[in-house]
């Protein structure tokens, strides 16, 4: 009797529990981690397409110094939305979506620990993102860059609504991210399959655990920073009003206390993905598993201690710069170790060249290059030259685009058969992968040189005649190539969904638990509770000799026969609570305080409804009996 599942079982009086299994209602009220994971992944890819379109326009404008595709104001809006979308609405949610789908499967759990909180996390993220995008139609998108330095965001310098959309939208989607991260932590601590000690947890899940901790420590400062600006703009406080003696530098500190961990929040799940792909296709265990985990933890901790390396040029003085420069160097060590360990995994393996591993190889190359420029940027003296230039743009695209995005594309190919039961075309996949990777380097490699030649970032035109034309033209042409690659990938996804070859549970000959259940997984995930007694449990079952472990007997898992599998009930409240928050934010933005109060009261109502509704649901039995409600 150690655990305390919620026991409040009062039925929702106003909103009866929905039980749809198909249709829009079923998606709006779902609490199933796989459905929410799919929603996360699809929304993230949609946002990514929008961001890619914005990036295409940016590159087109920079093709030559005389292009007049967009005017300066629109250019500012484009790169701001590109950054905001990629960081907050595309890449990070992609990691969280993959975590949603695969963490419970990898640890043999039924669902996340708090399914409704999970739904709330998704909806508030999606509605927040949608809200930011409505700004294009409501008076202009934010135009202050993704880190929105004060005092550019103050009312006197930016009277339009764009900044309000940025602040409110990211504020509420940040709430969702934090909630989901807490949920993931509890899930990974509490819901691992019997026998799965922490040192038998798959690396992807480990990286998600570290990422979740970084999220819960990094997002509150950002939330505070957003609240401060919102209060400044809506209620007339003085947090960033320079006439009152405020220090705009405070925003930079609060933002980067969030912002640097955010980089690792984005990259750690990617590390996890690579750590799944490489062993699978090398037919070999991950080299140095404990070192991989430890270096991940070290990255997580150090990630919180390097924030001012984004601020080396703000005049903090030599002592502060030295301190943060050294911590930044230190963070390079565990990252280097990870790269060596991936190479070590492939060493002596039997490497099968599938599309996912092509992305993994591209990741290794790109991330190594990004790491090298990262070490360069950790030197304050040199950073004083290239800070806020295209050199930095190239660096963080190598890390976040080449690092995270390429590995997530690999993850798409890797897990697609698990999610859909069908394979994507390998042939088209490899062609698209090569084009995408070449296009990627075509865009960003020339930008290093443009930066060294003196091209600051965020300019919608550059001085002619100082040698920047060639590099910008190359970069823009690279963007066309990468665009072709992305379109091919999209075609492949559609092809895979409609005509892909049907495959069994384990098409890749993989190693972790998610490949044990059928593809796509049934709504109850596992019929039998898996039991684990090694790292790579599925591999151990398939090749017990090679692993030198005795796999647990096939019937070792509890069959859930006593209790059956508990399927939590669907609920309207997460969606309604998110909608209340979103409309409340619109109301505040348009200074309609009455509507804001109404939304607030409705939100409180949904919270009570949520609490008293209870987890609900029904149980599924596999002993021949039908499921019963």
């Amino acid at each position: 009797m150690a655990t305390a599942q919620p026991t409040v079982t009062t039925r929702g009086k106003i909103f009866n529990r929905p039980t749809w299994t198909t249709g829009i209602g079923s998606w709006l009220t779902t609490v199933d981690h796989k459905r929410l994971g799919l929603l996360y992944i699809c929304s993230a890819f949609l946002f990514m397409l929008l961001a890619a379109g914005e990036a295409g326009l940016i590159r087109l404008q920079l093709l030559t110094p005389t292009m007049k595709i967009v005017n300066p104001d629109h250019f500012n809006q484009l790169f701001t939305m590109h950054g905001v979308t990629m960081v907050f609405l595309a890449i990070m949610p992609l990691g969280i979506g993959l975590a949603n789908y695969f963490v419970p499967l990898q640890i043999g759990a039924r669902d996340l620990a708090f399914p409704r909180l999970n739904a709330f996390g998704y909806w508030i993220y999606a509605l927040g993102g949608l809200m930011i995008y409505t700004s294009w139609f409501l008076g202009g998108a934010p135009d202050v860059g993704w880190f929105a330095y004060a005092p550019l965001t103050s009312l006197s310098h930016n009277p339009g609504l764009g900044v309000d959309f940025y602040m409110f939208g990211l504020f509420i989607s940040g709430i969702g991210t934090t909630g989901t991260a807490m949920n993931l932590i509890v899930t990974i601590i509490n819901m691992r399959a019997p026998g799965m000690t922490m040192m038998r947890v798959p690396v992807f899940t480990w990286m998600i655990l570290i990422m979740s901790f970084m999220v819960i420590y990094a997002f509150p400062p950002l939330t505070i920073a957003f609240i401060e600006v919102i209060l400044d703009r809506t209620f007339g406080t003085l947090f960033f009003v320079q006439e009152a003696g405020a220090l705009p530098i405070l925003w930079q500190h609060l933002f980067w206390i969030f912002g640097h961990p955010e980089v690792y929040i984005i990259i750690l799940p990617a590390f996890g993905v690579i750590s799944e792909i490489i062993p699978t296709f090398s037919r070999k265990s991950l080299f140095g598993y404990p070192v991989m985990i430890l270096s991940g933890i070290l990255i997580g901790f150090m990630g919180a201690a390097v924030w001012t390396h984004h601020m080396f040029t703000t005049g903090l003085g030599p002592v502060v710069n030295t301190a943060f420069s050294l911590t930044s160097f230190v963070i390079g060590i565990p990252t280097g170790i990870k790269i060596f360990n991936w190479l070590g995994t492939m060493w002596g393996g039997s490497i099968r060249f599938t599309t996912p591993i092509i992305y993994a190889i591209a990741f290794l190359i790109t991330f190594t290059l990004g790491g090298i420029t990262g070490i360069m940027l950790a030197m304050p003296t040199f950073d004083a030259q290239v800070h806020d230039t295209y050199f930095v743009v190239a660096h963080f695209h190598y890390v976040m685009g080449g690092g995270a995005l390429l590995s997530y594309l690999g993850a798409l190919y890797y897990w697609f058969p698990k999610m859909t039961g069908r394979m994507m075309s390998e042939r088209l996949g490899k062609i698209a992968a090569v084009i995408t990777v070449i296009g990627f380097h075509g865009i960003f490699f020339p930008q290093h040189i443009a930066g060294l030649l003196g091209m600051p970032r965020r300019i919608q035109t550059y001085p002619a005649g100082i040698g920047l034309e060639l590099w910008n033209a190359l970069s823009t042409m690279g963007s066309w190539l990468m665009g072709i690659g992305l379109i091919l990938i999209l075609i492949n996804v559609i092809h895979g969904l409609t005509r892909g070859k049907r495959v069994g549970n384990d098409p890749w000959d993989a190693r972790t638990l998610e490949w044990e259940t059928s593809s796509p997984p049934p709504y109850y995930d596992f019929e039998v509770q898996p039991v684990v007694n090694s790292l790579d449990p599925l591999w151990a079952r398939k090749h017990p000799d090679a692993m030198h472990v005795t796999p647990p007997a096939p019937d070792a898992g509890a069959k859930y026969d006593a209790g059956g599998v508990h399927i939590p009930g669907q609920s309207w409240y997460p969606f309604l609570a998110s909608a209340a928050i979103m409309f409340g934010c619109y109301a505040l933005m348009y200074d309609n305080f009455i509507l804001a109060i109404v939304c607030g009261l409705f939100f409180i109502f949904t919270i009570f409804g949520w609490a008293f509704e209870g987890v609900g649901g029904h149980h599924v039995h596999f002993d021949g009996a039908k499921e019963h409600a």
Partner: protein
């Protein structure tokens, strides 16, 4: 055959950037430093770059070797399911530590060499730099001189900048001289650098270095540029003297200049801009707009966007939004105004006569700016 064409074109397409890459010199390039601090920054970059070559060769070499050697073959046996090798792992941990130390030591030394606050002596040139949307104000408290977008310094002297902002965050970046420091409201930042004692462009008698705002400041951010003119000490002294007592010419032989002088008042230029040459000892305009005193000595117009030739200045005055989209400078004529071109030319002629000996003809500009 289209393929033949492609076969011929491809090597060219790949080689061209490589060949061009051999020369990374440029007027705004980090790779051609012209002062001690920029040289130090450049040296640090080159050191890490040389250091990274073996790293890249190592990592990519191993990667290629592994991919080739351990690719799956038909008769592949199950690889050994080893979980690691403590000895290898220790070595692999030590290698990045050593690399990082090799980078960190010179880096820290150079921080204290370049970023320590220096005490000004009477030998140094102190300049207060204030950033505005979207231009630069340079004030010389030692000489009581205020100018805009063009910083003059004597060769071989140490220059100490005190940086502040009048509105939002900007960043002062002179790549070939000293790197960058942000200009932040309510905060005093400082930057110092040495200039070389010799002038490289002996014909012109001065060297020009370009720079640009590097922190997003909305609007015309891309056009917020400046130039640094390094000249011999005596030329610099002349320049200072000119600014301390600007020549005031109330009459002009050139009718165009005379007309321009009138227009400067009637079109309202002096509502925003100070022109020290306009009348003796008078200050016009407002501080958040560029000071046009001795404009004729300038190399550029519109925050270093255009070279200050008579045509360019006239174009700028005629239609500022065309030259620098987003600028605060208003368009003073209707598009249909028949006098527009002529009056703009007159104002340009007047402005370019300011501070120039003779007061009638714009100084022939020997700019090395390149644009």
């Amino acid at each position: 055959m289209p393929m033949r064409w492609l076969r011929r074109a491809l090597p060219v397409a790949f080689l061209a950037p490589l060949l061009a890459g051999c020369s990374l010199d440029g007027v705004q390039s980090i790779m051609s430093p012209a002062a001690s601090i920029a040289r130090e920054q450049h040296g640090l970059f080159m050191w890490t770059w040389y250091l990274s070559i073996p790293v890249m060769v190592g990592v990519f070499g191993v990667l290629i070797y592994v991919l080739f050697k351990y690719r799956r073959r038909k008769d592949d046996k199950m690889p050994d399911q080893s979980h690691g090798n403590p000895m290898t792992e220790v070595i692999l941990t030590i290698v990045p530590i050593i690399i990082v130390i090799m980078v960190a030591v010179p880096s820290v030394r150079s921080i204290f060499r370049t970023q320590t606050v220096v005490q000004a002596t009477s030998d140094d040139v102190v300049i207060h730099v204030t950033g505005y949307q979207w231009w630069w104000k340079f004030e010389y408290p030692q000489y009581g001189v205020t100018t805009a977008n063009e910083m003059h310094i004597p060769a071989g002297k140490r220059v100490i900048l005190q940086l502040n902002s009048g509105d939002v965050v900007h960043a002062f970046w002179a790549p070939r001289l000293a790197g960058k420091v942000d200009l932040i409201p309510n905060q005093d930042n400082r930057l110092w650098f040495d200039t070389d004692a010799d002038i490289k462009d002996q014909d012109a008698g001065f060297d020009v270095y370009t720079g640009q705002c590097a922190e997003l400041c909305l609007g015309a951010h891309a056009y917020m540029r400046f130039r640094v003119v390094v000249s011999e000490q005596d030329e610099f002294d002349d320049w200072v003297a000119d600014f301390q007592q600007p020549t005031v010419a109330t009459t002009a032989t050139d009718p165009l200049v005379a007309q321009g002088r009138q227009l400067v008042a009637t079109k309202g230029c002096i509502g925003c801009h100070n022109i020290g040459n306009y009348s003796e000892g008078m200050k016009f305009g407002q501080p958040q707009y560029p000071d046009l005193t001795n404009f004729g000595l300038r190399h550029t117009v519109g925050a270093a966007v255009l070279d200050a030739t008579p045509e360019n200045v006239a174009t700028w005055i005629r239609d500022p939004q065309e030259v620098k989209p987003g600028t605060r400078m208003p368009t003073l004529w209707q598009a249909s105004d028949p006098n527009r071109d002529q009056e703009a030319a007159a104002i340009a002629a007047y402005l370019l006569s300011l501070g120039v000996e003779g007061g009638t003809q714009a100084m022939a500009q020997a700019s090395t700016g390149g644009n």
